[in-house]
């Protein structure tokens, strides 16, 4: 029997919610974005090539939804960096374990490209290739976003063991200057 790819959508809802939640850190907003993305996916299902990676396709739609929202929001909330970074210079616990709250504060300071690369690869189990496809960038770009995101997190958390301080603000600033290639 021929299956309608739209019947598969429901299977991807948990991962879509997890991705949206990781990017927004706001469950109401995350679910609204998933809802938008599902409607878009439904009405554009003819653009999905059966046999290809549906999760990557859906995540692409989701991230585009996210970026249009984020661009709108960024105009409203300018520059919170200064305030936040002041509170971040705490020392890690005795064993260097990252506390969730501190981690979240640090994560929020990464640029969105680094955040999504880290979420896809570090949490979602995406291969670099899948993540690159999802974000519409080269594999090497995803790798450097992941590496720089990790380095930046370590720096923000004040954990500078393993020499992860290599990528400093100059590098990060260069990445921030890149445009999110969402469209």
């Amino acid at each position: 029997m021929v299956t309608d790819p739209r019947d598969e959508l429901v299977n991807h809802v948990p991962a879509m919610r997890a991705f949206a939640m990781s990017l927004t850190r706001n469950s109401a907003l995350a679910d609204d974005m998933v809802q938008d993305a599902l409607v878009k996916a439904w009405s554009n299902i003819d653009k999905f090539q059966v046999g290809t990676n549906m999760r990557a396709w859906l995540f692409t739609i989701l991230r585009n939804t996210f970026y249009s929202h984020y661009r709108k929001r960024r105009r409203e909330v300018e520059d919170v960096d200064g305030d936040l970074s002041a509170g971040l210079a705490q020392k890690p616990d005795h064993d260097g374990r990252l506390q969730m709250r501190d981690f979240n504060s640090a994560f929020e300071q990464l640029n969105k490209e680094q955040q999504e690369a880290l979420v896809l690869v570090g949490a979602g189990g995406f291969s670099y290739e899948e993540a690159a496809e999802t974000c519409g960038v080269a594999v090497g770009t995803v790798k450097s976003r992941v590496n720089r995101g990790r380095a930046r997190l370590a720096e923000l958390m004040g954990l500078d063991e393993n020499g992860v301080l290599e990528a400093t603000d100059a590098v990060t600033a260069g990445i921030v200057a890149e445009n999110p290639s969402a469209a």
Binding site: R6, V10, P14, V34, R97, L98, L118, A123, R150, A154
Partner: protein, 48 residues
């Protein structure tokens, strides 16, 4: 260090991943399907 970062990333992600799909999404998909005559009329009752 990388493990610490990834485990923090995974914790938030996996928590959501494990949640049941909220009704709003199953209802939304059902509504979309009802509204679209070309959608496959595969068994509605897959059970919960």
């Amino acid at each position: 260090m990388q493990e610490e970062i990834d485990s923090n990333l995974k914790r938030a992600y996996d928590d959501v991943l494990k949640e049941d799909i909220p009704d709003r999404f199953t209802e939304l998909l059902a509504k979309l399907k009802d509204a679209d005559p070309t959608a496959g009329k595969k068994a509605d009752a897959d059970g919960d």
